[in-house]
Symmetry: C2
Subunit: 362 residues, 2 copies
């Protein structure tokens, strides 16, 4: 199967195999050495000196961690949403008792920095902003992070970034851009099975977490930070996934992050060019297309569910469908992590063949 | 290494290898088929017809799920604690805004049912009781579950059982004993890497969860139940660990749960006999010793940390130390999951040899 979804992504054979190593004591010296090694590697990819905690959970667990550690009870926050995962932040904030101003943009667009500034000016009590860097549901990467961080800090605020499906594939310069809290997940560009998620915390973020009274336990980041100082996690970690991460980071550091970013840029462009050559259009507007996932509008009247089945059964290729209101209307083509030119060519061939089988003339 | 800790436990080679299978779409038909298969297998081992949800988290995540779904804001509950993991329930209840009556028993003892009844009679407003079945920190298995469930239901209450380190190794008859909520974790008797945790829910438990307003999202069990109906999880699951669970359940069902229980009874007795033959005593009082982990009191003046190091360096055997106030005073010898007679003999040899190296004459 050519797994062309935006996560979980294919795992290199040697990484998969690393996960089958003999189980170890999660309170022993081997685990501590591995944890120190992976944390250093993850920080390198994050381009940060901040603490980065590794949680045994999915990306949504990391989003919950950000909200329960950093949004105070009844605090008024801004969520900038450009799709499903932005909406998930809104949902989380409301669930845990924050008040939410929702700044939503049409599917396929990135956020407009002028509207963000206007919203923050209209609500001077807002000091916490949550934003999705790469919206997996629409195939859009937001270019505003550096400007947004600068503006948020100019009003003494805190910026929380969901970079789950971008960080490790495209540049996220945590320190240079001055991002307070940045989230990612093992099953995306990290070439590792799902089960681990990452959260970086700036000093500003720690200060806020310490005064925040929102209840938390499993996702209490201070507990994770304190345990990390002794090479442990507060709760039993997903050890076999961690073995995989350890091996995957070796491969990533050997390739070099700039080369990884260049590869994703190239394969993203290749995917978009191939899709456009079929006469199809992208959901993402020009200039903000994601280099990790492409959302493709289906020809009028074509059943997206049927296309996914044809691609799977006839071309051994798995694409993802649309989520929410986009179900049946788009398919999503993942090109992140352990992926090379051949995978993209095969994916494009499968898409072309599936469309033809369903009568599309192009 | 002979990993003789009470979890994570050794993973059979074919189970470890199953985790290295090609990654799949967590929203596709292969995952749905696997999820339906593992849920049926887990329910068989749970001896239940109740819903059992599989969460991507550690056992502590399952404990948090039980508390946030079933303890109402400001509700008065009883936690029966016989050690560290009972205390963790107390911590969780207090964190999430419940009021807690703590009924604690001395380390090594099981709970006294008369005292439990007296406490519940003294606090007629308590309708939720949380209890540890097998206390991993002291090596005690509570024999009171059937009587406790009967009593709790006679007062129209709900019983939540942490069976993380017992269920799948020793009998936990969820339906016959009428247990409302039962927790377990993949890294214990299930012969699988850490990363998945299980929660069963009776109809009473669902009714209570539905009226409970405690905020929850990642661990919201209704969301997990609803997704399970379509062969999915609400958030990306730890797929590679799930592959392992799928294979491990095949092995467990082939052995048969009664045979698994008999093996643990035999190996538990063998461990205790061997330890006593060295002139050492157990922390667990007679009649309530756990068949999954044995807590061994160290000879007066012996440094527990040193013993662990000697066992590891000289005998390639990993024991666990004591937790909290028991640190340095006991070691814990795990005998659950993928374990046979030879592992126990080797573990006992390692313990004997390590004690001798530290000057113990026995």
């Amino acid at each position: 199967m050519n797994l062309r979804i935006p996560g979980p992504t294919p795992v290199p054979p040697e990484v998969a195999q690393a996960g089958a190593a003999d189980m170890i004591n999660h309170r022993g010296p081997e685990f501590a050495a591995m944890m120190n090694r992976t944390t250093a590697g993850v920080k390198h990819v994050y381009q940060t000196q901040h603490d980065v905690m590794t949680l045994s959970a999915s990306g949504t667990g990391a989003m919950e961690a950000a909200v329960v550690n950093l949004v105070e009870p009844d605090e008024h926050v801004l969520v900038i949403s450009i799709g499903e995962f932005g909406d998930r932040f809104i949902n989380l904030v409301k669930t845990y008792g924050g008040r939410c101003t929702e700044l939503k943009f049409e599917q396929g667009l990135a956020a407009d920095m002028n509207k963000v500034e206007a919203t923050l000016k209209a609500h001077p009590d807002i000091k916490t902003v949550l934003v999705t860097h790469n919206e997996t549901s629409t195939g859009v990467t937001q270019p505003i992070l550096p400007a947004l961080a600068q503006y948020v800090h100019s009003i003494d605020g805190l910026l929380i970034v969901d970079a789950i499906s971008s960080l490790s594939s495209v540049p996220v310069k945590t320190d240079e851009w001055d991002l307070d809290v940045v989230l990612s997940g093992s099953q995306k560009g990290w070439m590792t099975a799902p089960g681990l998620a990452f959260v970086s915390m700036s000093d500003r973020a720690w200060a806020k977490a310490d005064r925040n009274k929102t209840p938390r336990f499993y996702f209490d980041l201070r507990r994770h930070q304190q345990s990390a100082a002794t090479g442990q996690t507060p709760w039993t970690p997903a050890v076999s996934v961690w073995f995989q991460l350890d091996r995957a980071l070796q491969i990533m550091l050997a390739e070099g992050i700039e080369n990884i970013f260049a590869r994703h840029r190239r394969l993203g462009r290749m995917t978009r060019d191939g899709v456009r050559a079929m006469g199809l259009t992208l959901l993402a507007s020009e200039g903000v297309e994601s280099d990790t996932v492409t959302a493709i509008r289906l020809p009028e009247g074509m059943d997206g569910g049927k296309l996914l089945n044809v691609a799977m059964e006839n071309f051994h290729t798995v694409f993802a469908g649309g989520q929410g209101s986009l179900r049946g209307k788009i398919i999503r083509f993942g090109h992140l992590g352990y992926v090379n030119d051949k995978d993209i060519v095969a994916g494009l061939d499968a898409l072309r063949g599936s469309l033809a089988k369903l009568g599309y003339k192009g």
